[in-house]
């Protein structure tokens, strides 16, 4: 037998000005299992909480209902109160009679009071069935896998290693350093990129807590947070990193020359090569695709020449299995393939290059090698492959305005007789020191023209490039010849990013970059627990932002691992093993693959997100959801629709916690009005409301049902909108069969600012219910017989 204490709050007039709280208290005292009822001026205050503590002691209460504000507002307060009282924090339920009754219905005090009574009854009936929560913890260790050793991966690894965590840093290239190692100078300070990167690269190589694996590929990742099982392939270098002195004698005798990818193919390297002059590990490697042959050995000249005896033709791939607790994805970017804009002639015209090629040219020039002529008249074309619907990249690549300004400034300062133009659409100088740097570039004489070139043409006589562009500020059409045109290519997700996203099963946003768990509040978490993202893998950004994100991701990983124990959210789906017949439908349905079929279906609580959409996939009703269980929800539904008076209607609104419930609260807080016959039931996701539950609700007296859920872009759960649509369609089919209007069920995605949409849809449904009238008893009875079964 439960012993419930009910506390009705005046909220200093916020509630009691509209709702007759004494009437609500009176009503509550007659509800089953209610032992004590109090009406108090401010429940959240010390005295309000003391009332609970005293009553729990005196009356041996084992559960509490607080009819007051929204659980999103003071829910945490009362959970703490219960812990102080020695009770499980799940044994308190709040009836939202402020944001969802007194405030939106302030002009209808009688209806607001009636609604407050019903909301209280719903809470009491729910809490009578509630169980203590048993927070499950996972043991979690200190091992982290960082994928990608560009500046993001390097920074995250150093932060983690310095904090005492054990890092596996895996890089697919033979050297670390990523894109930053290819740059000349960085904006807006014009620091030499390799110079500031080199110490960090050295630290990574030396750090006792970092296990660096270069020239290595991730083959497979299984498991979940606290227990990721990773299989790595270390490709054979054929050179012993510890013995190699990088003297280069091997290169001198190697007969094979191939394009040097570090210099984007503008220069050549040998089949045995040092990946770059700043490479870490600083050792040569044999490209076994370019080499004449290792097995069987064709040439062998490099080993002969090597005095350090570092070359080993018997090297073979190594397969390594590791177990890690968290993963950070730092797989970086590729540049846009400028050949996809044929009107710019890249790959055809001699004197059209990309900005990254220009970076390499400037670095090589500074070391005394002129890779190719630069000339005097130079043009930069902005937004190549970005902000472009024709190539499917609608986004802005963020750094190109600044890198072009930088390259233009470097070129102009090195030779002031050069004539340098930048053809832009917008000059995006948003960051610290950026606008000042743009001004300095203008002072140097760089010419900025607002216009996006329609096409580039090649003068056949001298291979100069003609830029055709409209100066949109003067409306003049410019046809100008340049010695060299540099395309400011945008950033696209790297091939590595795409591959890793698939392996780890982490989603990508519509722009192709790794998707964040929440675009505002969780920008370095992926939606998969335990996997984080940093750097340009998440989206285009410059070096300071990359480093900040890398440190952020490291901090997030540390937060998760630091206590040695990781508390999982208690809202999880569970299988009733006795009912399960092993059909496997739920396994197929689960969008995060949290369910495995062993003897019966088994849900992995570390992966389960608690949306509950699997519940409607089970033909045996064997699945339930903890905290928001089937019987608790049905109890709320039953009490929301019973004891209807003649002509009264009851509209049920299932509101997902993150978006719709928050939205409903905001509507009430703004004192915006909507129909008072609506009763909102809070759920983690509306996908946990099965067709059967909806039909039962109608059978019990509901006149309309509305389901609200987060829009896909902000939803913590994948695929729930599809599941809800499915459930609603099934419910509608059954309604039609029973001769009931299918329009009585509706659903919609929301984000938390859609005030008018919420009111419009809820009122609209209410009006339909008025038009249709209450459902006659014979039709309601049909719902049990003609229920939809899969």
């Amino acid at each position: 037998m439960a012993k419930v204490g009910v506390y009705v709050c005046h909220c200093g007039g916020n509630i009691s000005d509209t709702v007759d709280v004494e009437e609500v208290a009176q009503f509550a005292s007659k509800l089953p299992d209610v032992t004590v009822v109090r009406s108090i001026s401010h429940m959240c205050s010390e005295s309000g909480q003391k009332a609970i503590l005293d009553d729990v002691e005196e009356y041996k209460l084992d559960r509490v209902v607080v009819s007051a504000c929204s659980p999103q507002f003071q829910g945490a307060t009362f959970r703490k109160t219960l812990i102080k009282a020695g009770l499980d924090p799940n044994m308190v339920e709040m009836a939202n009679i402020r944001e969802q009754s007194a405030w939106p219905h302030y002009e209808e005090p009688e209806k607001a009071t009636e609604k407050a009574k019903i909301l209280t009854a719903m809470a009491v009936e729910k809490i009578r069935l509630s169980k203590p929560v048993e927070i499950e913890t996972l043991k979690i260790g200190k091992n982290v896998l960082v994928i990608g050793a560009g500046i993001a991966g390097i920074q995250a690894s150093l932060d983690l290693a310095n904090a005492g965590f054990n890092v596996y840093l895996v890089e697919e290239k033979p050297t670390i350093g990523g894109r930053m190692a290819q740059l000349s100078r960085t904006f807006p300070t014009e620091d030499c990129a390799s110079c500031i990167l080199a110490p960090k690269m050295a630290d990574v190589a030396d750090h006792p807590n970092i296990n660096l694996m270069t020239y290595s590929e991730i083959l497979e990742v299984n498991g979940s947070v606290g227990n990721f099982k990773v299989r790595i392939k270390k490709k054979p270098r054929y050179v012993d990193e510890k013995k190699c002195t990088a003297c280069g004698d091997c290169e001198k005798v190697c007969p094979v020359s191939v394009p040097d990818e570090f210099n984007l193919g503008m220069t050549e390297r040998k089949a045995i090569y040092l990946p770059s002059s700043t490479a870490v590990p600083h050792a040569h490697v044999i490209d076994d695709n370019a080499c004449l042959g290792i097995v069987p050995l064709v040439c062998g000249l490099c080993a002969e020449a090597c005095e350090a005896d570092a070359i080993n033709y018997d090297d073979a791939p190594q397969y390594i299995n590791i177990n890690v607790d968290t993963i950070i994805v730092a797989t970086g970017f590729d540049i846009f393939d400028a050949k996809l804009k044929p009107q710019y002639g890249y790959g055809k015209y001699k004197n059209v290059i990309t900005a990254l090629e220009m970076e390499r040219m400037i670095v090589e020039m500074a070391e005394g090698h002129a890779i190719r002529p630069v000339g005097k008249d130079i043009a930069f074309v902005q937004c190549v492959g970005s902000r472009d619907a024709q190539v499917g990249n609608l986004y802005c690549s963020r750094i190109c305005c600044m890198y072009a300004t930088k390259l233009a400034s470097l070129l102009k300062r090195a030779d002031p007789s050069r004539d340098v133009y930048v053809f832009y659409t917008d000059l995006r100088a948003y960051g610290k020191g950026f606008e000042e740097y743009y001004r300095t570039a203008q002072d140097l004489g760089v010419k900025f023209i607002r216009g996006r070139p329609g096409e580039l043409l090649e003068d056949p006589d001298n291979n100069k490039v003609i830029v055709r562009v409209e100066d949109t500020l003067t409306r003049n059409i410019i046809d100008k010849e340049f010695d060299l045109v540099v395309l400011s290519v945008g950033l696209v997700p790297s091939e590595g990013t795409k591959k890793i996203a698939e392996l780890l099963k982490i989603p990508r946003s519509s722009d192709g970059f790794i998707k964040e768990a929440h675009p505002k509040f969780r920008p370095v978490d992926t939606p998969v627990e335990g996997i984080f993202v940093a750097g340009t893998a998440q989206g285009p950004k410059d070096i300071p932002d990359t480093v900040a994100q890398a440190s952020g991701a490291a901090a997030r990983a540390i937060t998760l691992m630091n206590k040695g124990e990781y508390e999982m959210s208690p809202i999880k789906a569970i299988i009733d093993e006795e009912k399960c017949d092993g059909c496997g439908l739920c396994v197929e349905h689960c969008p995060v693959d949290a369910i495995e079929l062993k003897k019966v279906a088994e849900i992995n609580p570390a992966v389960c997100k608690g949306c509950g959409s699997c519940i409607s996939s089970c033909p045996r009703d064997a699945i339930d959801l903890k905290i928001f269980s089937n019987e608790e929800i049905m109890a709320e539904i039953r009490n929301a629709v019973k004891d209807k008076k003649d002509g009264e209607k009851r509209i049920l609104v299932f509101a997902d916690d993150m978006c719709t419930y928050t939205l409903a609260d905001s509507v009430g807080t703004a004192k915006m009005k909507y129909d008072a016959s609506t009763y909102i039931i809070r759920v983690p996701s509306s996908s946990r409301i099965t067709p059967k539950m909806m039909l039962k609700a109608f059978e019990m007296g509901a006149d309309g049902i509305f389901l609200g859920e987060c829009e896909k872009a902000v939803s913590p759960y994948p695929n729930t909108l599809e599941a809800i649509e499915n459930n609603v369609n099934k419910a509608r089919e059954a309604l039609v069969k029973a001769g009931i209007e299918p329009e009585r069920v509706e659903y919609s995605p929301f984000v938390t600012v859609m005030f008018k949409k919420f009111i419009g849809l809820v009122n609209g449904l209410s009006e339909k219910a008025d038009k249709f009238g209450n459902i006659p008893e014979e039709k309601r009875k049909r719902l049990i017989v003609e229920e939809v079964v899969r």
Binding site: Q343, C383, R387, D388, A389, Q390, T425, D426, R450, G451, R452, P453, G454, E455, R468, V469, E470, D471, T472, R475, I477
Partner: protein, 104 residues
């Protein structure tokens, strides 16, 4: 939707002849400047669709320009006077397409 980048202008084979550039035509439409209907530019348009194919915002400029022409033509105001065309020098298809494009 037009960001006034100007790609259309320098993609257009007729832009040198126009009194208002293609980007200028889009600007007039954006701000509701109906004097664009009096321009020569909208009639010099060759309907080659290069602008449409290259517009980074995905705007169908050829269609917009056709709409501007139609705003005059549908008032029963032809852009060319059939009587005044010297027909002997024209291939018949040019005459046909001129009649289609420049008359209501």
């Amino acid at each position: 939707m037009c960001e006034q980048c100007g790609i259309c202008t320098t993609s257009c084979p007729m832009s040198e002849e126009m009194d208002v550039s293609p980007a200028g035509i889009m600007r007039a439409v954006q701000i509701g400047d109906e004097s664009i209907l009096e321009s020569k530019a909208i009639w010099y348009c060759a309907s080659c669709f290069t602008c449409t194919v290259r517009c980074p915002r995905g705007i169908d400029l050829a269609k917009v320009t056709e709409a501007l022409r139609q705003m005059t033509l549908r008032k029963n105001v032809d852009h060319i006077d059939i009587e005044k065309i010297e027909k002997e020098d024209l291939p018949p298809i040019a005459l046909v397409s001129a009649l289609r494009k420049f008359t209501g």
